[in-house]
Amino acid sequence: MISEIWLFKVYGRLIYIGVSRILVMAKKVKGEEIIRLRNVSKHYPMGDSVVKALSHIELKVFAGEFIAIMGPSGSGKSTAMNLVGSLDMPTYGTILLDGGDIAELDESDLAQVRGKKIGFIFQSFNLISNLTVKENVMLPMMFQGTDFEEREEKAEELLKLVELHDRMDHYPGEISGGQMQRVAIARSLANDPEVVLADEPTGNLDTKTGAIVMDFLQKLNKQGKTVIMVTHDPDLAKEYADVIYWLLDGELDKVTKRCGNKFVDVTKRKKKEMKEKK
């Protein structure tokens, strides 16, 4: 009897470990690190001089978080978003996507990984005007080699999710800005990515339609998607994000984290800096 209980304990534990393993392999467990920028700098040559767009950025994205990258114009947030989205390579430092250094991938492999793991939402929607709403949503899946029927089914499902299934066969020019951004949200979800990266998603929208779009993003986050939003609007960041990275003049000014209704400064500073502050 005792030994039976013991066996059950052992097997139960083994089964538990096995199942959790499978779950990890299938999908990131909440709290696991997805993207990490380690001491990243981005410099652009400009004539004879060098523009330091970003310097020494440390950033971690964990599964299930809603992160905002905040900063006024010229603060380097677009550069940051390109790096976080692995569209661009850092001049110094490393970017880890799912633990792997993106510098080790060639351009096409990186595109494939990007297409699979990150869904982009842009300020100016960036839908392809020659393709219908549905074809736009199907496109990322085409690049992953998904077959037509599956693409179509998934696109219809996603457009239903953003409440645009009655506009599937319209061209982007025939729908409103808010609707276009919802199409972009549907497209960003096409390959079921781990991260949705939104660059000023409400920038070209009025307050009301902007709120609708933000509600969709929040809903996605509640369902477990990691959302990274780049914005210049501190109110928007504070309203929706859990963690805010504040950028100023190409440097990380501070990192704040939601704690109840307030945000607390969780910036990790080097000891020397801390001393200087004191």
Binding site: G115, F143, R187
Partner: protein, 405 residues
Amino acid sequence: MKLDYLILALKNLRHRGIRSWLTLLGIFIGVTAVVALIGLGSGLQAAVGAQFGVSSTQALTVQAGGLNSFGPPGSGAVNKLTRDDVDAISKLGTVEFATPRNLETTKIEYNDIVVFSMAVSVDDAMEKEMYETMDIEARSGTMLLNDALGRIVIGNNLADGTKNGFDKDIATGDNVLVQDKRFRVVGILKKKGSFMLDNIVLMYQDDLDNLFDYGEEVDIIGVKVKSPDLMDRAKKEIEKLLRDRRDVDVGEEDFEVSTPDAILETVNSVLGGVKAFIIIIASISILVGALGIVNTMTTSVLERKKEIGIMKAIGGTNYQIFLQFFFESGMLGLIGGLVGITFGTLISFAGIIGINNFIGSELLPTIDFMLISGALIGSFIVGATAGIIPAMNAAKQNPVEALRG
């Protein structure tokens, strides 16, 4: 999976502006020219053949000088053929008969209008034989057969008031003035499709002799060979005979024995020249078309830089983006080719119908599927080749820069 990119390319083509389509004119014209030319080839050959009077496989013509001399056949020669030559040729073993023919440009007056046309003599002893070698017969009235002098048979067009220049039809029984002498028209020939035969005036040897005084001279000798297999042998025999009679060496002949094959060869070499010319024009046109596609694709890549950036951001690899532009370019060429084939086929159909009406032949317009598929594949290849470099440029775009537009 490649099919997806082909479909995507087609979708993008739906929204191309008129400028892109205009660049296809080159491909379109080139393919039209080639397809029309090849489609018309057989018809042209028959038409030109008819102009040269190629009909029987058993007929030979002998003339002094050469086929390529100026003026009416045989008339420019210094050392003319004679009636004795005719007799000698008709005695050859391979020859069934030989008929002498004289021809002269004559003044014809009717309805108070003067027109010049070719008069050909008919030998009163060999009327039927001559009609046979020339492959002619009357559509109204009769041919000259044991008739009295002062009678003529005229070609189809010379009787037709809309074509003969007299502003009035000539009917059998009408009188016309030939070199100011009155002749009665007893017959009108069937349409032959040959400019010369359709405007001909046939009269007896004695009549023509009275008008021009030939004596023993003969311009052309029409020869019928006993069987088609003997053509080459007959030709050689006649050549040898005439060399001996005229005392010339091999290679220095001042006469020519023409077989239908030889005439066809001449026709073909003329047609070959025309074909070569059209093919050169078509090639230049296709080259210009290809450059047009390079141009329009390069512009398109620049215009759609942002689109390329978007595609890269959402996971498009360089190869996938290359494929899309490559197919788009190929499809542009293919569409140019398709329109060209349609027009080319229409032109060749219309041309064949025109030739049929002109020479009264019954050529059937044909659709050559090998030619069509060849032209389609060819134009796709031209388009795709033209698109390689622009497509590579598209694929090479840096996603961040491309997204900026």
